[in-house]
């Protein structure tokens, strides 16, 4: 027994000696905080991109799921961590652009208090309705909703979620803020009731709804992106369908606390770019229906600009949204 203990103690001491030596960044695994439960769209993108980034960095990127309060718990932890480049976070539209308007007591400032790295992937948003909804295109749908806002039920996955944020913007664009909004705990149960016809419509990310659309269990009116998605080539864009004001994407991007060493930022940007240029990684993301970011959006400045653009778009609508 004693011998075993001594041996283990010796092993520990050796491990200590190896780890304590100072090296160039990254000298140890980098923690990437995902502020949502494992298996969700953000988590999957973080794991796909992080897997390839680890190869470039030569150190493992460890995904740590810290869920809570619409993702703001995890981002708060990342942004209050030491700015040494070893703690970064994968946030999304909600945590970086919408959170300041949704959560008044937010402990981080996405516009001035973060070191952005770059965009990892965009996810188109679709307006979907139950299979037997009478309207045959977006124009008819908008007209029907505007004519009798009290008649329809809209589903979302809880205050702060992507579907809530994007649907609130949709209602803002339509000018019918007081629709019957039914809150669900997550997209899955909401989708279940949309398929069974209890709910009339919802807005959600393409990865959650594309297969249901293909199987004809629900119908899609439009995709709120600039271009059609290759995953659903028959679904028109909002611009084509006559609602050009409704443009929103549920992107996911990487940021860390302000004050990170330049070396760390450069290496992370480089690793992200290499991951997004890698064909197998790209294919994985495209399979999800994600959009590969442009060269501009993959830079810290480009990503920061995107955060600001969407924050400007969402803040007025969310601030006045009935809660």
């Amino acid at each position: 027994m004693k011998k075993l203990t001594l041996g283990l103690a010796a092993a520990f001491t050796l491990a200590l000696a190896g780890g304590a030596m100072a090296q160039a960044y990254p000298a140890r695994p980098v923690t990437m905080i995902v502020p949502f439960a494992a298996g969700g769209p953000t988590d999957i993108i973080a794991r796909i991109v992080g897997d390839h980034m680890s190869k470039t960095l030569g150190q493992q990127i460890v995904i740590e799921n810290v869920a809570g309060a619409g993702g703001t718990t995890g981002i708060t932890r990342a942004m209050t961590a030491a700015p040494d480049g070893y703690t970064i976070a994968m946030g999304h539209l909600g945590t970086f652009s919408a959170a300041p308007a949704t959560y008044p007591g937010l402990k981080y400032d996405p516009l001035n208090g973060m070191q952005t790295i770059g965009l990892a992937g965009g996810t188109p948003i679709l307006i979907v309705a139950k299979k037997n909804f009478p309207a045959k295109d977006l124009k008819e749908f908008v007209a029907a909703v505007k004519a009798a806002p009290d008649k329809f039920n809209e589903a979302h996955a809880g205050v702060g979620s992507v579907s809530w944020t994007t649907c609130t913007l949709f209602k803002g664009v339509l000018g019918v803020p007081k629709l019957n909004a039914v809150a669900y705990r997550g997209t899955g149960p909401a989708l279940n009731d949309l398929v069974s016809g209890q709910i009339d419509f919802m807005c959600d990310q393409i990865v959650s709804v594309s297969e249901q659309i293909k199987a004809d269990t629900i119908k899609a009116y439009a995709v709120a992106s600039a271009e059609r998605s290759p995953a659903l080539p028959n679904v028109p864009t909002t611009k084509e369908a006559g609602l050009p004001d409704y443009q929103i994407e549920a992107w996911n991007g990487i940021a860390g606390p302000k004050g990170m060493p330049k070396e760390a930022v450069d290496k992370l940007v480089d690793a992200l770019n290499k991951a997004l240029n890698d064909e197998p990684t790209k294919k994985r993301l495209l399979d999800l229906g994600a959009v590969i970011p442009s060269a501009e959006e993959r830079t810290p400045a480009g990503f920061q600009a995107l955060i600001k653009r969407d924050a400007d778009k969402l803040t007025p609508v969310l601030a006045s949204a009935p809660k």
Partner: protein
């Protein structure tokens, strides 16, 4: 028949052989490797391990293993992840029986009689019956999925918010029957559980409720935190002050496996548990949670001597454990046929499928038949493996009970602490668990049973959500619960259960007065 052709495809997929020529032999020999069987075995083994460890749930583990499966083909990866999931269900009952800690809501019921059996030196019997019952239930559920998966899908779609609300009300009435002592105290615990479930951010408005303005409470109380506190920690405190109750475990070991007569005693409970669990498992939104509770209620109600329950009745382990495993298995139906995940673990399976380029939806069955039927076939093989893994382990687990308690409880504690930390990677959760440990200790001192509280807690959140959804959809009319036939039927069952539970209790109270 189609089913047989499909199952043949499934078993062929599971038995896929990969020829492996070891490099060091320079291609002289190539070995047949049944890769999917191997992955299934690894999954079951890992699942059993994490199921046994308190706190560490299948969600954290499957998430961690996702990147490892990148290199595998999707069928193999999903077979392994599914193995982890139902392996964890098996392992969870081990912890519930041995140390009275329910790792998941579905094993709460197992603690009632399972741990009592362990205290009487019948841990081996309890574990054996749980394993055999689970195997039987898993096998039946696999056949149910294969034969009826597609038609049963409609059941999931028949359940809207109104039906769920009524189902939850029915579930709460079951909780009354769980009570070992005073019915009034059981009601108190259910209500307390419901009250605790409302802590946290309101889903519909985003307002914080009863959080003391404390951010870690914004998402409410985690089930693991509450369960580990009121069961795990409180149990340690109770044992520390009653050395005689824990010594029972130490002195008598008893036999390791159930005898023939004991198995006979369990046949009917296992059959009933399997049926109830399989049906409730199909319902999305944690319907599977109700399975073990419903099974326990049935067994206690039809038993010749209900007073044995809560004191180590073997039917109270066999029935709920079968229901638990059957439900775990049939929970795959909405995922595989509708593409809609019914619970958090299934949501993770969706993630795993998407990572491998298969986006789950209604078309998986036709587009990826090898995946669909391969997974179903692997479930049965996985259940067989779990039996093979678990039966020999029974001896080891029972031996663990011989560890002196002065070392056992620090070990339980360090496992619990790490486990709770790993649920959300939040240190403050550990402190919360300690607080609930004190809370649970107070409850014990006041003569309350924590099991109904946990059921109330689990069902409460869903009940409020569904009530509000149903009333928004019906524009505020309570008649919606009576107008919809399924909902009305469920409420009727609830009333009947309640009446059956209350009548004997009232007459008993009168007897007590009489004897004083």
């Amino acid at each position: 028949m189609d089913v047989f052709a499909n199952l043949a495809l499934g078993f062929a997929t599971v038995w896929k052989i990969v020829w492996w020529a070891p490099g060091f032999l320079q291609g002289a020999v190539s070995l047949p490797i049944p890769i999917n069987i191997l992955l299934c075995f690894v999954g079951c083994l890992v699942g059993t391990l994490i199921g046994v460890l308190p706190g560490v749930g299948p969600i954290a583990t499957i998430a961690m293993l996702l990147p490892i499966t990148f290199g595998l083909d999707p069928v193999g990866a999903l077979i392994m992840l599914a193995g982890i999931y139902y392996g964890a269900q098996y392992g969870g009952s081990t912890t519930a029986i041995l140390v009275n800690i329910p790792g998941e809501a579905t094993s709460v019921v197992t603690t009632l009689d399972g741990h009592q059996m362990a205290k009487q030196g019948r841990a081996g019997v309890a574990l054996g019956v749980a394993a055999l019952g689970s195997f039987f239930a898993g096998s039946v559920a696999t056949i149910v999925i294969a034969a009826l998966g597609a038609p049963l899908t409609k059941l999931a779609l028949l359940f809207g918010p109104a039906e769920y609300f009524s189902l939850m009300v029915m579930g709460l009435c079951f909780a009354v029957v769980l009570a070992r002592g005073s019915i009034l105290k059981a009601f108190c615990m259910i209500m307390l559980g419901l009250l605790l479930s409302t802590v946290g951010t309101d889903l519909e408005t985003g307002q914080e409720r009863m959080t003391f303005g404390f951010p870690p409470l914004a998402d409410g109380i985690d089930f693991a935190v509450l369960a580990m506190g009121v069961f795990g920690f409180a149990e340690v405190l109770r044992n520390l002050e009653n050395p005689e109750t824990r010594d029972v475990v130490k002195t008598k070991i008893g036999k390791l496996l159930p005898s023939l007569s004991e198995i006979k005693q369990c046949i009917n409970p296992v059959l009933r548990g399997t049926g109830v669990g399989a049906i409730l498992g199909i319902l999305p939104g944690n319907g599977a949670v109700l399975g073990p509770f419903a099974s326990y209620t049935i067994e206690k109600k039809i038993a010749a001597d209900p007073s044995r329950f809560g004191k180590g009745a073997i039917e109270g382990v066999a029935g709920p454990e079968s229901a638990n495993n059957a439900g775990a298995q049939t929970a795959f139906i909405p995922l595989l046929t509708l593409g809609i995940p019914p619970n958090a673990v299934m949501a993770l399976m969706v993630g795993a499928m998407t990572i491998h380029g298969i986006i789950p939806g209604p078309q998986v069955m036709t587009k990826n038949p090898d995946l669909f039927w391969g997974m179903i076939a692997s479930m049965w093989i996985g259940n067989l493996m779990l039996l093979v893994i678990n039966l020999p382990l029974v001896g080891l687990w029972v031996k663990l009970l011989q560890v002196p308690y002065r070392l056992m409880f620090p070990a339980i504690l360090i496992f619990c602490c790490i486990g709770i930390y790993s649920v959300n990677n939040q240190p403050v959760d550990v402190a919360f668990t300690a607080m609930f440990g004190l809370f649970g200790y107070i409850l014990i001192k006041l003569g309350f049973e924590p099991a109904p509280m946990l059921l109330g807690f689990v069902l409460g959140r869903l009940m409020e959500e569904k009530l509000r959804q149903a009333l928004i959809i019906s524009r505020g009319s309570f008649m919606t619960f009576l107008e919809r036939p399924i909902s009305a039927g469920l409420l009727l069952v609830a009333v009947i259960v309640l009446v059956i539970a209350l009548l004997p209790a009232m007459s008993k109270k009168r007897d007590e007065v009489f004897t004083e």
